[in-house]
Amino acid sequence: MSLAGPRPGRAALDADRLLLAGLAGGATLLLVVFVVLPLWGILGYSLVTPDGLGLGNYARYFGDPRFVGIIGNTFTVALSVTAATILLAYGFAYALQRTTMRLKPLLRLVALLPIFSPSLVQALGLQFLLGRNGLINRSFGTEIDVYGFWGIFLADLLYAFPHAFLILSTALAVGAQRLYESAETLGASSWRSFRTVTLPATRYGIASAVFVVFTIVITDFGNPVVIGGNYGVLAVEIYNQVSGQANFSMGAVIGVLLLLPAALAVLAERWIARHQHASVSAQSVPLKPRPNRRRDALWLAYCLLVAAALLAVVAIVVYASFVRLWPYNLSLSLRHYAFDVQNGIAPLWTSVEVALVTAAIAVVVVTLAAYANHQLSGGLKRPLYFLAILPAAVPGMVLGLGYILAFNDPANPVYAIYDTILIIAACNIYHYHAQGFLLATTNMKQISRTFEEASATLGASRLTTLLRVTLPMIWPTVLGVGVFFFMRAMVTLSAVIFLITPSTQLAAVSVLYLDDRGALNQAAAFAVCIMATVIGVLLLTQGALRLAGIRGVSLIR
């Protein structure tokens, strides 16, 4: 091979192809087993009618004005929440990445608060704040009625905000200083340089964020069920059908309807990606925002306003967990932390264990899937991409039931891990696969291929390039993927409810049932324990990084 000069030899090329094929094949296989097969079982139900297989359920569905109304509601709320979230989160991310304002670390932490807690917490907090007997109405004598569209709108806005913020923040984090310098030299106004440089460079991030937020909202169950009033949405209707009436067929029909937006989003994303080019090239100088007093002050004011809203909702839940009897007796007490449930606080530790296993496996599986997809060109790229983000559109309840149907069968090899925490971990990984995958992909797309090409030109194999060039550049993102999965696994609810066993009870399920039973303060207290654990683990990890001499890496991405 040394005779062949700097170009890699044939054997190395073959090994490269083999590696890529192996990664792509492995990723696809896992997606087929843990996403397609379970969905297949559930979706099959949508064709089961009393008179045999057919489209009767769909006909019945679209013939019922109530169902059609629910579709309208779902899209109204999803589109409006998406628009509002992207706008607010883009501003917030922009301020944090492109200005020199103060308080950045604190603002960042507050922006992320909603992902530390089960989705129920936003609705619970809103109810405490804006409910008919909530803090605002009680204090000001107003008669705000939040139940219904506005309740879901606000709760889901808060819930989706950190997800959009993280993606947009990653997209805005990198930029080419020289492009802005050129723009300035050419006399462009700051608005013009935003429009012609910043916006196009973050197009891909915006598209990802739109997709992620939209699917979070249409599949979210926890918020609408608490604060949606009589405003029906599809995710709750699945629950009515499956849990209320044991009608799996209608539940499956709705599941199929929720998959359609995913297909649309993939098409839209491909269209945008065609125009995408890497914004960090080998020649670029990393972006360094310059101070600008007035601009920074304005952005700080905006961020403080948004942060206050996010903080208020979480803070009131924490507060309610410490008062004797919300809202009648506000003297402080720790009594709600003595949980009167079967296993007490034990589910919290099971959740931590599940979350660590989830994160460890997800880091490998999701990053490699994103890498394989990034490197692929040609036939397999689109199907792999589609499979990778398909789970985003699958409501948790549908996925969880699909897992039982597919894997609770001694003839199926996956049965070996059924009833263990591994099946819960697998369910978490594939339930949130899309978000983790997009996180990794967004970052990879922004790194110019030039680096990798240079490495290849110098004779490095693909594996060497991956290990010595790509990973060192993206490892903070990889760590971020792990942290993301850890957090999701700590708080996720609707899918795992079908997979927990007597020995694998989870914390988020405890919160749900405590709330359901009416032990609101205990539910709040348990949610506070979850939040404290997640934040504690983050601080420990951050501390470990510091000790290792690594600074300036944000764990949450």
Binding site: R66, R132, G244, R324, D340, Q342, I500, D516
Partner: protein, 342 residues
């Protein structure tokens, strides 16, 4: 009923390959039973403490889910059930033919203490406990707005309650369904639907779960929550300013039944557990927690009577026809959704 289109061999092969990344092992089971239940966590903890004392040699593993979630899970697991015993689960769900088909008849020791109307004629299930409907009325709101205390279902139609009532949605909640079914039974279908039409005009919200209406009334979100009695009693004990009202026309109710699974791998211990459910010791514990205990020698606890339950519960219960309620469920829920869900 599993619908599969991919050949089983292919699915197996795919799964084997996937397992390369997820290694693990299945748990073994011996000398223990798995119980699925919908008893509330707090009462369940108390019952289990007692069971562990009386049956020290059996490890009782319990999974607690809401009635609907548990039914969905059992139906999805039907090809390979994981549990030996169902305990404390709605009788109107138990009589779903898909569930009945999984049960094994067993004449538990002491079954004669349970009146015939609270058990299956073929001994596939029996109910030792139950819960009854009731209204939770917020005293603060009543006083502040000078509203009269309701005493009957008919009272709830008063125009001054407009926008102040909440009740559970019968499509998602067993409690919601027991109210609707009892109204249709006591008034007859024509009058019953007319009553529900009128009630709908006063209704602010149909809520997904059965305990929530009482909880939001307790928190002062709404004035009156149509819910169930024990929730009201618990919330009164917690200190919430509410009154429990049992409608004088008679309260709808639901039984919580127990059954043995055909598929059980440890039927000997499962049967011993079912026998234990009918013991005096168990009944004493139910007494502390349940509005309805079906075993003949019940003494109503003082604190329940203080909250408003009579010494003899049968005087306020409407005589529900459980079989009718179960058989007509789909039809009634569909009609209800057509009328009231927009």
């Amino acid at each position: 009923m599993t619908v599969s289109v991919l050949p089983r061999g292919l699915r197996g092969a795919l799964a084997v390959a996937a397992l390369a990344l997820f290694a693990g092992s299945a748990p073994a089971q011996a000398g223990k039973i798995t119980v699925y239940t919908s008893y509330e966590e707090d009462e369940l903890a108390a019952f289990l403490d007692k069971a562990k004392k009386d049956l020290p040699d059996i490890e009782v593993d319990v999974l607690r889910l809401s009635t609907g979630d548990l039914r969905a899970r059992m139906l999805a697991e039907a090809s390979n059930p994981k549990h030996d015993v169902i305990w404390g689960w709605a009788a109107t769900s138990m009589v779903d033919p898909r569930i009945l088909g999984m049960l094994e008849p067993y004449e538990a020791k002491g079954l004669d203490k349970v009146p015939a109307r609270f058990r299956d004629a073929q001994n596939r299930w029996f109910a030792t406990t139950g819960y009854m409907g009731a209204f939770c009325v917020n005293n603060e709101i009543m006083k502040a707005e000078n509203l009269p205390m309701p005493a009957t279902w008919q009272d709830l139609l008063k125009p001054e309650y407009k926008g102040r009532l909440v009740m559970p949605n019968p499509a998602s909640s067993g409690t919601g369904y027991l109210h609707v079914a009892s109204i249709l039974q006591m008034m007859g279908e024509d009058k019953g639907w007319a009553f529900l039409d009128a009630l709908d005009k006063n209704m602010a919200q149909y809520i997904k779960s059965g305990s929530k209406p009482c909880n939001v009334a307790s928190a002062g979100e709404y004035a009156i929550g149509i819910s169930f009695a024990l929730r009201a009693i618990k919330n009164i004990e917690e200190g919430y300013p509410i009154t429990m009202v049992v409608p004088s026309e008679g309260a709808g109710h639901e039984l919580e039944a127990a059954a043995l699974m055909k598929s059980s791998q440890n039927k000997a211990d499962a049967r011993r557990f079912l026998d234990w459910i009918l013991t005096r010791a168990a009944a004493d514990e139910y007494n502390n927690w349940k509005s309805i205990v079906t075993m003949s020698d019940r003494v109503m606890p003082e604190r329940f009577m203080k909250a408003g339950l009579p010494a003899d519960i049968s005087t306020v219960l409407f005589d529900v026809d459980y079989a009718w309620a179960a058989e007509n469920r789909d039809r009634i829920v569909a009609e209800w959704q057509k009328r009231y869900e927009k």
